[in-house]
Symmetry: C2
Subunit: 276 residues, 2 copies
């Protein structure tokens, strides 16, 4: 999916919601254990209940890998269940030397080889340009590079001052030379509200993937105040607060209710900004 | 495996060789395609032919993931074939917020959940302490943190100067507060020979995992000149130059010959340093 198509989806759905799929076996409703693959059934029902309210799904690969071979199978089948007009993100935080990143790109972008073809993958920037480039060789596929993350450890290295700026600012500035806003997004945590103004100066046109609204405590209004641009420019992720709104038989309905609340908030924000 | 046991293995085998398992379908010898899983057969024969000459194996997860579900199955079965007295490294370059890194730790360290229990995993440092901690909660398991990598892109962010030192130096200095040399190693590329002296000042006791000897052009002698410590302190990885020494029926023998050359060089180095 290209940038124009993504913005069209946002306008059509009046939403820039990304639903994070982080399935934990202990949180799967008990009644789903009658199915052969309860986690897959859970993901499918969440997707079916929310896909008119969101523009993206973001399965986090760690949660699937932790379940071994069956988990990887569930990841592939979850990807296959995401409607093709919805932006799909492999939240995988990969990145390695060039020949290895090319393999990761095959794993997540090349359906013929791996059984999956996500629209985007999250990538860690530490190894630099040749660790990112191989992902960008895939047409209309996106790299979502970690910039300023939502967790406590963000301050350990991302905020270090260098002669040109903080490390995370350097990540945005330098990586912007490798690609355009047509294929490059940045991860900026919702818990970093005050920094969005600064980030928009460095990356005026790039979409930002914003985790941390909900369970991690970030504020949607604060994110949008400085984060919105004239193509929306935001994909705001909410995971646990949607998918685990209930752990009972009504989990899918309750997930929909939580997604709807966010969609309605987003509709107001888009409307106030004259984007819809 | 703990540090003392690792050093014992190094002394017994007179080797600090790590064999990188980066299987690419195009490089698998043709005669192996009679097997149901040619890649697994390739890995097994490489392991069988070299395991008295090396102290570690390092499957690179990207190469397995690129082959989809069958690839993940091959990774699990390759791990299972590594003798339990040999240090096993999941070269996965993972790292995410705490609850997610805990899932990655299960994926690679918790056999009951995932089918695999490597001794160590490579981790990207960008997200800081809480992205590394969950791996360290597993007894006798190791984090091998990216410090100064072997690829061209190492200069994009790792060498940025901060008030306290270069970014990679900060990674070593700060992460050394999170754990000891009993569970924390660093990745330092063999192509960074001149920096080893400096790195040993920052990390006198930590093992260093050193990729880049062979196909990437690093020199073993240069690495050892400043990298050795009184417990050896080095795991030197060689991948492609061993496993693809031949792509014909003699591939395992030729892999052994290449591994033997490195082991013999290492034996001389260990002997000159009075470590054996």
């Amino acid at each position: 999916m290209n940038k124009k198509q993504l913005f069209e989806q946002i306008k059509n759905k009046k939403s820039f919601l990304c639903v994070g799929l982080d399935p934990v076996l202990e949180n799967i409703p008990k009644h789903l254990f009658k199915y052969d693959n309860p986690v897959l059934e859970f993901n499918k029902q969440i997707i079916d209940a929310t896909n008119d309210l969101c523009v993206a799904y973001k399965p986090n690969t760690a949660f699937f890998e932790s379940m071994g071979l069956k988990g990887w199978d569930t990841l592939i089948k979850t990807w296959a269940h995401i409607p093709k007009d919805i932006f799909s993100i492999a939240d995988a935080k990969r990145g390695d030397i060039g020949n290895t990143s090319a393999m990761y790109a095959d794993a997540f972008f090349n359906e013929e080889k791996s059984g999956m073809s996500f629209d985007a993958i999250t990538v860690a920037p530490y190894m630099g340009e040749d660790s990112v480039g191989p992902f960008l060789n895939h047409k209309d596929k996106w790299v979502i590079l970690l910039a300023l993350t939502s967790n406590a450890g963000h301050s350990d290295f991302q905020l270090h001052q260098t002669p040109e700026g903080k490390v995370y600012e350097e990540v945005i500035r330098i990586s912007s030379k490798w690609s355009s806003s047509e294929q490059l997004m940045f991860v900026v945590g919702a818990t970093r509200g005050a920094e969005f103004k600064n980030i928009r100066k460095l990356a005026p046109d790039n979409f930002l993937l914003v985790p941390g609204v909900g369970a991690q405590g970030g504020s949607l209004a604060e994110v949008c105040q400085h984060g919105l641009n004239n193509e929306c420019g935001l994909l705001v992720n909410s995971g646990r607060s949607i998918i685990y709104a209930s752990k009972a038989e009504d989990f899918a309905e309750r997930a929909r209710e939580e997604a709807l609340k966010l969609q309605q908030e987003m509709e107001q924000i888009l409307s106030s900004a004259h984007l819809i």
